[in-house]
Amino acid sequence: MIKVGKPDVSPDKPSHTRGVPEGNGTGNYEKQPGHLPDGRSTQRRSTGINPSHREPILDSMPNLSPA
């Protein structure tokens, strides 16, 4: 094997700390405002300020939230 120096950190140091929510964790999608269970989203996804005023004007229109 190749000789290497002493590592500064343990190579198997867990990147996750217990108690801190993980971005990929199940249930996260449901917790985020503006995301509907069927995969669509509402204006609440983009803003918390009067989001209902920014919904599409017709039901047949898709909800295209800005970035």
Partner: protein, 600 residues
């Protein structure tokens, strides 16, 4: 690296004797590919070739013990030009391990990013690096007779690309001065922007994750992409016509040039562009979703499509030693005895590989001489360990896709014997209908020509993906991410196409951590040394016994035909070529993309 050269007395004597000529380093695998040849100048051919690499990186060693969710960010750094291919492939492997399927919009976004990457990288490599070997200044130095013919040969497709003679095209290839060279640089900027729109950054994506993407899918992001794509299409249409003209000219003006870089047709393609309607990343259905990909996986042997089944492709992979600086791992741990379908997995399969580096002196005479291992594919019928190559990427992709007859989209179709690409009308050019047919030989020229066609293929596919993505957005289906938990134990395999060919990532998770991880990019396949059965790797095979058409003799030999061959596999332009000819006399030439600007 300087290597002394002497005329070897122990070699088969020819009229002029064999002359050792070394090209080291040839870059792109982090600058450490060396091609060591013995040239028979009397008979104008290469007598022997060894391909070596003097760099060890050890991703498979230091990935162990890490959080598997970091894998795509870390392995992306394997390459400085196709890092997003590694990230994507790692994500495919992780999706399988976590048992998740990203939402369709996420898949279309990844496909769009990858299509932009193929367009970017192939254009940059072809026009700014490969064409330096075909440019007027280079041809004037190596084949002045050919340049004279080019000046009087009219370009058959001149009405499409705008160049009157073949020599005009060659002049346009001149680095820093030629119009094609300069235009290609501009194109590579635009295509990188396209990649960034989808993947956040180029070349190490910041918005690709297992389970989906972080890209916010607004209509604007896709229209920004389409505007750039339309600009590129004008260039792509002209480029294909120009490529056909220059390569046809070489084949016609130099009879026998089709034997340069020719090797047995042994091509592998591991598929690209997943179809979210079929792909669920479940290994048990991998045969079906592999075939549904928009670049079909396949192994082509002697012009015949052997398989399109990713499960067969996966199980046939063998990592051999023989001339590499590693100890064998047969007695080490077996991580995966059976795949999820119950098929036995060999100890030499990447899932079970343990990397045991054993640094030593390079021995080009029957000993070990490279850090590259020898990946091979076990032919299920003949039991041969096939030294597959990727044909630089595009040749294998187009060949497998053409013969499989699976792809059927509005802009790109496979007919079962060819690939048809229809590019719609764009501001500067009318509609163009292209058809790529498998060539007679897998050789240097056809590897280069396929690259131009694959840029058109990727562009056509990008149009299709953008339409599908916009369909999702217009229907309001904006979800781009699936959440997941990291399992305690799992295995995963990702199959993708890096720009220059096959790419696989094999992953084993234990105790929520990576227990084994083996990426196999295209270069180990192409640049592999002689394996334990004595089979040479593809570079060695293609260069060995190759005829030479360069008009220069040993005194001012540039090795242009060898360089064209090695570069046709898409490694990199040598930044420095050191060549030694004859007993103790040294000729040192430096070639660089700055050709003509820096001087020798």
């Amino acid at each position: 690296m300087k290597q002394g050269t002497r005329t070897r007395s122990d070699m088969k004597p020819t009229k002029g004797g064999l002359v050792e000529v070394a090209f080291d380093p040839i870059t792109r695998i982090v600058g450490n590919l060396g091609i060591y040849t013995k040239i028979d100048f009397a008979n104008k051919q290469v007598a022997e070739c060894r391909s070596t690499s003097s760099i060890f990186r050890g991703y498979s060693v230091f990935m162990k013990g890490k959080d598997p969710r970091d894998a795509h960010f870390i392995t992306s750094r394997i390459c400085g030009i196709c890092g997003d291919n590694h990230a994507t492939c790692s994500i495919y492997a992780q999706n399988m391990a976590y048992g998740i399927k990203p939402p369709p919009l996420a898949e279309w976004i990844i496909n769009l990013g990858e299509a932009a990457e193929y367009m970017f990288d192939h254009t940059l490599f072809q026009d700014n690096l490969v064409f330096v070997d075909f440019c007027e200044r280079m041809v004037a130095e190596t084949n002045p007779g050919l340049l004279a013919t080019a000046k009087t040969t009219e370009a058959p497709r001149g009405s499409l690309h705008g160049f009157k003679t073949i020599a005009d095209i060659m002049t346009a290839f001149n680095p820093f001065e030629g119009s094609v060279y300069k235009q290609a640089l501009e194109m590579s900027r635009i295509t990188r922007e396209m990649c960034c729109l989808m993947e956040g950054r180029h070349v190490h994506p910041s918005t690709l994750y297992p389970g989906g993407v972080g890209t916010v899918a607004t209509p604007q992001v896709f229209t920004d992409y389409l505007v750039r794509l339309t600009r590129c299409l004008d260039f792509v249409k002209r480029a294909v016509a120009m490529n056909d003209d220059i390569f046809d000219f070489f084949l016609e003006a130099l009879p026998g040039y089709d034997q340069v870089g020719r090797r047995r047709t042994l091509l592998g393609c591991w598929s690209a562009f997943q179809d979210p309607n079929v792909c669920d990343y479940d290994y048990r259905h991998m045969s079906e979703w592999g075939r549904a990909a928009f670049v079909t996986p396949g192994i082509v042997v002697d012009g015949r499509l052997l398989t399109t089944d990713l499960v067969d492709i996966n199980l046939g992979m063998r990592i051999l030693l023989g001339s590499s600086y590693y100890d064998d791992w047969v007695n080490d741990e077996t991580f995966v005895r059976q795949d999820p379908l119950g098929n036995p997995v060999d100890q030499r399969h990447p899932w079970n590989q343990t990397t045991l580096p054993h640094p030593q002196k390079r021995d080009l005479d029957g000993g070990n001489y490279s850090w590259v291992m020898s990946p091979r594919w076990l032919h299920p019928e003949t039991g041969e360990h096939l030294a597959l190559d990727t044909g630089g990427g595009p040749l294998a992709r187009l060949w497998a896709t053409a013969l499989a007859g699976e792809v059927d989209t509005p802009y790109v179709r496979s007919t079962g014997h060819s690939v048809q690409i229809d590019l719609p009308k764009t501001p500067g050019m009318p509609e163009v209908n292209l058809e790529w047919r498998p060539p007679q030989y897998a050789n240097t020229i056809e590897r280069d020509r396929a690259r131009a066609y694959f840029i058109a293929y990727a562009a056509g596919m990008a149009l299709f993906f953008a339409e599908k993505a916009l369909d999702e957005v217009r229907a309001g289906r904006t979800k781009v991410f699936t959440d997941f938990e990291v399992p305690e134990e799992a295995i995963g395999a990702g199959f993708h196409e890096a720009v220059r060919g096959v790419l696989s990532h094999h992953l084993v998770i234990r105790d929520h951590k990576i227990a084994n991880y083996h990426p196999y990019p295209p270069t180990p396949w192409n640049a592999s040394p002689r394996d334990s059965y004595g089979t040479p790797g593809p570079y060695e095979d293609a260069v060995q016994e190759m005829p030479l058409f360069e008009e220069n003799g040993p005194d001012d030999f540039k090795g242009i035909d060898i360089m064209r061959t090695v570069r046709s596999f898409d490694p990199c332009l040598p930044c420095g070529v050191h060549m030694y000819v004859g007993g103790g006399r040294t000729i040192e030439r430096r070639h660089s993309p700055m050709f003509g600007e820096q001087g020798a």
